[in-house]
Protein backbone atom coordinates (compact mmCIF):
# COMPACT_ATOMS: atom_id res chain seq x y z
CA UNK A 1 0.00 0.00 0.00
CA UNK A 2 1.16 3.56 -0.49
CA UNK A 3 0.41 6.84 1.25
CA UNK A 4 -2.01 8.04 -1.45
CA UNK A 5 -4.92 6.34 0.31
CA UNK A 6 -5.55 9.27 2.63
CA UNK A 7 -4.88 12.47 0.67
CA UNK A 8 -4.71 15.58 2.83
CA UNK A 9 -5.11 13.72 6.08
CA UNK A 10 -2.64 13.88 8.95
CA UNK A 11 -2.21 11.52 11.86
CA UNK A 12 -0.86 12.91 15.13
CA UNK A 13 -0.27 11.29 18.49
CA UNK A 14 -1.48 13.30 21.47
CA UNK A 15 0.04 12.61 24.87
CA UNK A 16 -2.50 12.22 27.67
CA UNK A 17 -2.31 12.07 31.43
CA UNK A 18 -2.19 8.53 32.79
CA UNK A 19 -5.31 6.39 32.19
CA UNK A 20 -7.21 9.30 30.64
CA UNK A 21 -7.00 8.11 27.02
CA UNK A 22 -10.75 7.60 26.62
CA UNK A 23 -11.54 10.86 28.44
CA UNK A 24 -9.17 12.73 26.12
CA UNK A 25 -10.82 11.20 23.05
CA UNK A 26 -14.20 12.44 24.34
CA UNK A 27 -12.73 15.83 25.29
CA UNK A 28 -11.20 16.27 21.82
CA UNK A 29 -14.64 15.70 20.34
CA UNK A 30 -16.12 18.38 22.63
CA UNK A 31 -13.31 20.85 21.82
CA UNK A 32 -13.78 20.26 18.07
CA UNK A 33 -17.50 20.94 18.35
CA UNK A 34 -16.69 24.32 19.93
CA UNK A 35 -14.09 25.41 17.38
CA UNK A 36 -13.42 25.60 13.64
CA UNK A 37 -10.58 23.08 13.89
CA UNK A 38 -11.46 19.84 12.12
CA UNK A 39 -10.84 16.34 13.42
CA UNK A 40 -12.35 13.32 11.69
CA UNK A 41 -11.59 10.58 14.21
CA UNK A 42 -9.76 9.87 17.47
CA UNK A 43 -8.41 6.42 18.31
CA UNK A 44 -7.42 5.23 21.78
CA UNK A 45 -5.94 1.76 21.23
CA UNK A 46 -5.46 -0.39 24.32
CA UNK A 47 -1.84 -1.04 23.28
CA UNK A 48 -0.96 2.65 23.24
CA UNK A 49 -0.85 3.72 26.87
CA UNK A 50 -0.72 7.47 27.47
CA UNK A 51 -1.54 8.50 23.90
CA UNK A 52 -4.45 8.90 21.53
CA UNK A 53 -4.23 9.17 17.75
CA UNK A 54 -5.97 11.97 15.90
CA UNK A 55 -7.01 11.93 12.24
CA UNK A 56 -7.26 15.46 10.92
CA UNK A 57 -6.93 17.59 7.77
CA UNK A 58 -5.24 20.27 9.94
CA UNK A 59 -1.53 20.97 10.36
CA UNK A 60 0.54 20.50 13.52
CA UNK A 61 0.15 24.11 14.78
CA UNK A 62 -3.65 23.90 14.59
CA UNK A 63 -3.60 20.63 16.52
CA UNK A 64 -1.51 22.33 19.20
CA UNK A 65 -4.12 25.10 19.41
CA UNK A 66 -6.85 22.51 19.84
CA UNK A 67 -5.01 20.41 22.40
CA UNK A 68 -4.44 23.47 24.61
CA UNK A 69 -8.18 23.46 25.17
CA UNK A 70 -8.51 19.72 25.85
CA UNK A 71 -8.53 18.66 29.52
CA UNK A 72 -6.09 15.80 30.29
CA UNK A 73 -4.31 16.22 26.93
CA UNK A 74 -0.70 17.23 27.44
CA UNK A 75 0.87 17.84 24.04
CA UNK A 76 0.88 16.93 20.37
CA UNK A 77 3.83 14.69 19.57
CA UNK A 78 6.14 16.33 17.04
CA UNK A 79 6.34 14.42 13.77
CA UNK A 80 3.38 12.76 12.14
CA UNK A 81 2.47 9.13 11.99
CA UNK A 82 0.62 7.71 8.97
CA UNK A 83 -2.54 5.80 8.20
CA UNK A 84 -0.44 2.77 7.29
CA UNK A 85 1.15 2.82 10.73
CA UNK A 86 -2.11 3.03 12.65
CA UNK A 87 -4.55 0.98 10.59
CA UNK A 88 -3.70 -2.30 12.33
CA UNK A 89 -5.41 -0.93 15.45
CA UNK A 90 -8.69 -0.84 13.53
CA UNK A 91 -9.07 -4.44 12.44
CA UNK A 92 -8.26 -6.61 15.41
CA UNK A 93 -8.46 -10.25 14.40
CA UNK A 94 -11.37 -12.11 16.00
CA UNK A 95 -9.59 -14.13 18.66
CA UNK A 96 -11.39 -17.44 18.14
CA UNK A 97 -11.24 -17.42 14.34
CA UNK A 98 -9.41 -20.45 12.99
CA UNK A 99 -10.20 -22.47 16.10
CA UNK A 100 -12.74 -25.28 15.69
CA UNK A 101 -13.80 -28.49 17.39
CA UNK A 102 -10.87 -30.89 17.21
CA UNK A 103 -8.22 -28.18 16.84
CA UNK A 104 -5.09 -28.96 18.87
CA UNK A 105 -3.97 -25.94 20.87
CA UNK A 106 -1.36 -25.02 23.42
CA UNK A 107 -2.49 -23.03 26.46
CA UNK A 108 -0.34 -19.89 26.64
CA UNK A 109 -1.73 -18.39 29.85
CA UNK A 110 -3.24 -19.48 33.14
CA UNK A 111 -2.49 -22.42 35.44
CA UNK A 112 -2.20 -24.91 32.56
CA UNK A 113 0.24 -22.78 30.57
CA UNK A 114 2.33 -24.94 28.25
CA UNK A 115 -0.16 -27.86 28.21
CA UNK A 116 -1.59 -29.14 24.95
CA UNK A 117 -5.35 -29.49 24.65
CA UNK A 118 -8.09 -30.49 22.21
CA UNK A 119 -10.85 -27.97 21.50
CA UNK A 120 -14.29 -29.36 22.40
CA UNK A 121 -16.48 -26.31 21.95
CA UNK A 122 -16.13 -22.78 20.55
CA UNK A 123 -18.30 -19.91 21.76
CA UNK A 124 -17.77 -17.30 19.06
CA UNK A 125 -20.01 -14.66 20.64
CA UNK A 126 -18.24 -14.77 23.97
CA UNK A 127 -14.88 -15.59 22.34
CA UNK A 128 -14.32 -18.42 24.77
CA UNK A 129 -13.38 -21.99 24.02
CA UNK A 130 -13.73 -25.18 26.02
CA UNK A 131 -10.78 -27.54 25.80
CA UNK A 132 -9.69 -30.86 27.27
CA UNK A 133 -6.08 -31.31 28.26
CA UNK A 134 -4.38 -33.60 25.76
CA UNK A 135 -2.22 -35.68 28.05
CA UNK A 136 -4.53 -35.77 31.03
CA UNK A 137 -5.82 -39.24 32.02
CA UNK A 138 -9.16 -37.87 33.17
CA UNK A 139 -10.43 -35.39 30.60
CA UNK A 140 -11.47 -32.25 32.46
CA UNK A 141 -13.12 -29.55 30.37
CA UNK A 142 -11.54 -26.13 30.84
CA UNK A 143 -13.00 -22.91 29.51
CA UNK A 144 -10.49 -20.26 28.47
CA UNK A 145 -10.41 -17.08 26.46
CA UNK A 146 -9.63 -17.53 22.80
CA UNK A 147 -6.48 -15.45 23.12
CA UNK A 148 -5.13 -17.73 25.85
CA UNK A 149 -4.35 -20.46 23.35
CA UNK A 150 -2.11 -20.94 20.35
CA UNK A 151 -3.13 -23.22 17.50
CA UNK A 152 -0.74 -26.15 17.03
CA UNK A 153 -2.64 -28.36 14.60
CA UNK A 154 -6.04 -28.03 12.96
CA UNK A 155 -6.72 -31.77 12.68
CA UNK A 156 -7.52 -34.42 15.25
CA UNK A 157 -4.68 -36.99 15.34
CA UNK A 158 -5.41 -40.49 14.00
CA UNK A 159 -4.37 -42.55 17.04
Amino acid sequence: MNGDESPGLHYFAVKTTSKQERTVADNIQKAVEQSDIKVYAVIAPKELKGYVLVETPEEFARMEQLVERVPHARAVVRGETSFDEIQHFLVPKPVVSGINEGTIVELIAGPFKGEKAVVKRVDTGKEEITVELYESLVPIPITVRGDNVRVIDTREPDD
Binding site: E5, Y40, A41, V42, I43, P92, T143
Partner: protein, 69 residues
Protein backbone atom coordinates in the same frame (compact mmCIF):
# COMPACT_ATOMS: atom_id res chain seq x y z
CA UNK B 1 -12.99 -23.39 35.16
CA UNK B 2 -13.45 -19.97 33.63
CA UNK B 3 -10.41 -17.71 33.49
CA UNK B 4 -11.41 -14.10 33.94
CA UNK B 5 -9.67 -10.85 34.65
CA UNK B 6 -11.18 -8.52 37.19
CA UNK B 7 -11.69 -5.08 35.73
CA UNK B 8 -13.65 -1.91 36.25
CA UNK B 9 -17.09 -2.18 34.66
CA UNK B 10 -17.13 -0.32 31.35
CA UNK B 11 -20.10 1.22 29.54
CA UNK B 12 -22.12 -1.21 27.43
CA UNK B 13 -21.34 -1.62 23.75
CA UNK B 14 -23.26 -3.33 20.97
CA UNK B 15 -21.66 -6.66 19.98
CA UNK B 16 -22.75 -6.12 16.36
CA UNK B 17 -21.73 -2.54 15.54
CA UNK B 18 -19.43 -1.91 18.59
CA UNK B 19 -21.23 1.36 19.41
CA UNK B 20 -21.40 2.56 23.02
CA UNK B 21 -25.00 2.15 24.09
CA UNK B 22 -27.22 3.94 26.60
CA UNK B 23 -29.89 1.65 27.99
CA UNK B 24 -30.54 -1.99 27.20
CA UNK B 25 -30.36 -2.16 23.43
CA UNK B 26 -28.61 -0.74 20.39
CA UNK B 27 -31.07 1.47 18.52
CA UNK B 28 -29.03 1.17 15.33
CA UNK B 29 -28.90 -2.63 15.20
CA UNK B 30 -32.11 -3.16 17.17
CA UNK B 31 -30.42 -5.78 19.34
CA UNK B 32 -29.93 -6.35 23.06
CA UNK B 33 -26.72 -8.26 22.36
CA UNK B 34 -24.50 -5.99 24.46
CA UNK B 35 -21.15 -6.39 26.20
CA UNK B 36 -19.24 -4.63 28.97
CA UNK B 37 -16.10 -6.55 28.07
CA UNK B 38 -14.25 -4.51 25.46
CA UNK B 39 -10.97 -2.70 24.81
CA UNK B 40 -9.76 0.15 22.64
CA UNK B 41 -11.85 3.21 21.92
CA UNK B 42 -12.71 5.10 18.77
CA UNK B 43 -14.54 8.40 18.37
CA UNK B 44 -15.76 9.06 14.84
CA UNK B 45 -16.66 12.70 14.15
CA UNK B 46 -16.86 12.75 10.35
CA UNK B 47 -17.39 9.27 8.93
CA UNK B 48 -17.64 10.52 5.32
CA UNK B 49 -14.16 12.05 5.34
CA UNK B 50 -12.45 9.69 7.77
CA UNK B 51 -10.17 6.94 6.46
CA UNK B 52 -10.22 5.48 9.95
CA UNK B 53 -14.02 5.17 9.89
CA UNK B 54 -13.87 3.65 6.42
CA UNK B 55 -11.32 1.06 7.54
CA UNK B 56 -13.35 0.26 10.67
CA UNK B 57 -16.48 0.01 8.51
CA UNK B 58 -18.27 2.77 10.42
CA UNK B 59 -20.69 5.13 8.67
CA UNK B 60 -22.29 6.91 11.63
CA UNK B 61 -20.63 9.43 13.94
CA UNK B 62 -20.28 8.24 17.52
CA UNK B 63 -18.20 6.39 20.09
CA UNK B 64 -17.14 2.82 19.46
CA UNK B 65 -15.16 0.00 21.03
CA UNK B 66 -12.31 -1.35 18.91
CA UNK B 67 -12.49 -4.90 20.25
CA UNK B 68 -15.56 -6.50 21.82
CA UNK B 69 -15.82 -9.84 23.59
Amino acid sequence: MVVRRREKILPKVCRECHRLVDGDSCVICNTANLSTDWTGYLVVLDPRRSQVAKKANIDLPGCYALKVR
